[in-house]
């Protein structure tokens, strides 16, 4: 597999959510591409040493999101991310990340101009993962 899941017990995030978060992050980072196969529920459960029902719940969430699909007899695969979030929903998900980024920059005494410049630079450099989104770089 191109991605290894790393779960922690005792964190405030439930295990199933850690799995879904990490899967999503892997897709975003490019480590997982559309068509990549994820391990079966049982195999991942035994690898991570967690209850298979937990993995099943994570996979079910991912499937509901549209990130994962099950192909009969073959396994589970990463799939095209469908636009199932409304704009408002999307902004709602983005908002805390923006808040965290700006807050951190302010604490580190970066000026607004420095931040803006860094942001533009990063965006210019951004490589899209395959099977991408509506912005093509």
């Amino acid at each position: 597999m191109a991605v290894t899941f790393n779960i922690n017990t005792g964190s405030d995030t439930p295990i199933y959510k850690q799995i879904t978060d990490q899967a999503r992050l892997a897709v975003t980072r490019g480590r997982l591409a559309v068509g990549d196969q994820l391990p079966s529920v049982r195999a991942l459960a035994e690898e991570l040493v967690v209850n298979p029902n937990t993995v099943a719940r994570a996979y079910a969430d991912l499937m509901r999101e549209g990130l994962l699909e099950s192909r009969a007899g073959r396994g589970v695969f990463i799939t095209r991310k469908r636009k199932i979030y409304s704009r408002a929903e999307g902004w709602r998900r983005l908002e805390p990340l923006l808040h965290a980024l700006i807050g951190e920059a302010m604490i580190l005494d970066f000026t607004r101009e420095e931040l803006r410049a860094a942001f533009e630079e990063k965006l210019a450099q951004w490589k899209q993962p395959k099977g991408g989104d509506r912005n093509d770089a």
Partner: protein
């Protein structure tokens, strides 16, 4: 898929002297799940499990395992139940091989492969005497003996007690391996919340001999929430909140933990007019500690002692 419960109790009660160790326990454990039984030391977990195993007579109430009354467990039912005690006691003069030989003669369905597989997994040598084994090795041996007859229901009383992390991980792996068969049920008690978080579907929490929670694992974690309120000056007195578990007061903060945090509780807290109010998610262990810890408002005990000094 069977819908019936493998373990069912109604009003199960046990007194030791004048004190109730288990008080009116009503439990239903569905087939095929991993069920964790939690509680503080002395809250009645071991007593409950011993009653379920037919080793201790209840003072009143009833219970059934696999459809059989716990006061009269038949040999056939016992063959289908695996029971592991926390002390992992075995006859100290027997060797590993002799333990396996002894146990196998009692069960019609004895899987030698499983026995050797698990003993190998824990690194047990056939000729080693039980008295020379470490605690972890003994636990592995007990586990091998319990799992080899392939029981439908596995009852484990604090199986990880005193085990080193490697042995404990091997134990959890064995439990997950067991869930391969969908009709196998595991009922276990534990103090190790991280293992419980890994492996349990449902949990039940005993608080001073009374059952206070019985729900899926996720539900428990979602139900216990901590709210942090920040004030300009000293925090005000705390009004009565339904489901309040704990409250910690610092110089200008009030941290309130409650179960079933909902609109009503939120309204009461907002009425205190804090500067800031945010809900903090809790890890399972913290939630559990809050749930079973001292109720009510508390200050940290050591700072109190410092203040007095």
């Amino acid at each position: 898929m069977h819908e019936e419960s493998v373990i069912q109790t109604r009003g199960l009660t046990r007194y030791f002297g004048a004190k109730a160790a288990v008080h009116e326990l009503n439990l239903d454990v569905p087939r095929g799940c991993v069920f964790a039984f939690l509680g503080r030391n002395g809250s009645g977990k071991t007593t409950t499990i011993r009653m379920l195993a037919g080793l201790l007579q209840p003072t009143r109430g009833s219970g059934s395992i696999l459809g059989c009354d716990i006061r009269a467990l038949t040999p056939e039912i016992r063959a289908r139940i695996g029971y592991l005690t926390e002390e992992h006691q075995l006859y100290s003069w027997m060797s590993v091989k002799e333990c396996g030989g002894f146990q196998s003669k009692f069960f019609a369905k004895w899987n030698d492969r499983i026995f050797h597989g698990i003993s190998g997994h824990f690194g047990l040598k056939p000729a080693a005497r039980v008295k020379d084994l470490s605690r972890g090795e003994r636990a592995g041996l007990c586990l091998a003996l319990t799992l080899a007859p392939e029981p439908e229901l596995l009852m484990l009383d604090d199986p990880g007690l005193g085990l080193d992390p490697v042995a404990r991980r091997a134990l959890v792996e064995s439990m997950i391996y067991l869930t391969r068969k969908s009709d196998r049920t595991i009922f276990f008690s534990s103090h190790n919340i991280s293992d419980v978080e890994r492996v349990a579907d449902y949990i039940a929490v005993l608080d001073q001999s009374v059952l206070r929670a019985c729900c899926p694992l996720g539900t428990f974690q979602e139900s216990v929430r901590q709210v942090r309120l920040r004030f300009a000056g000293a925090p005000p007195a705390l009004p009565k909140i339904p489901g309040l578990l704990q409250a910690v007061r610092t110089e200008n903060e009030l941290r309130v933990t409650c179960a079933h945090y909902n609109g009503e509780a939120e309204k009461i807290l907002r009425a205190l007019s804090p500067l800031e109010m945010e809900t903090v998610p809790l890890g399972l262990e913290d939630a559990f500690i809050s749930y079973l810890g001292e109720r009510g408002e508390k200050t940290f005990i050591l700072s109190e002692m410092e203040a007095q000094a």
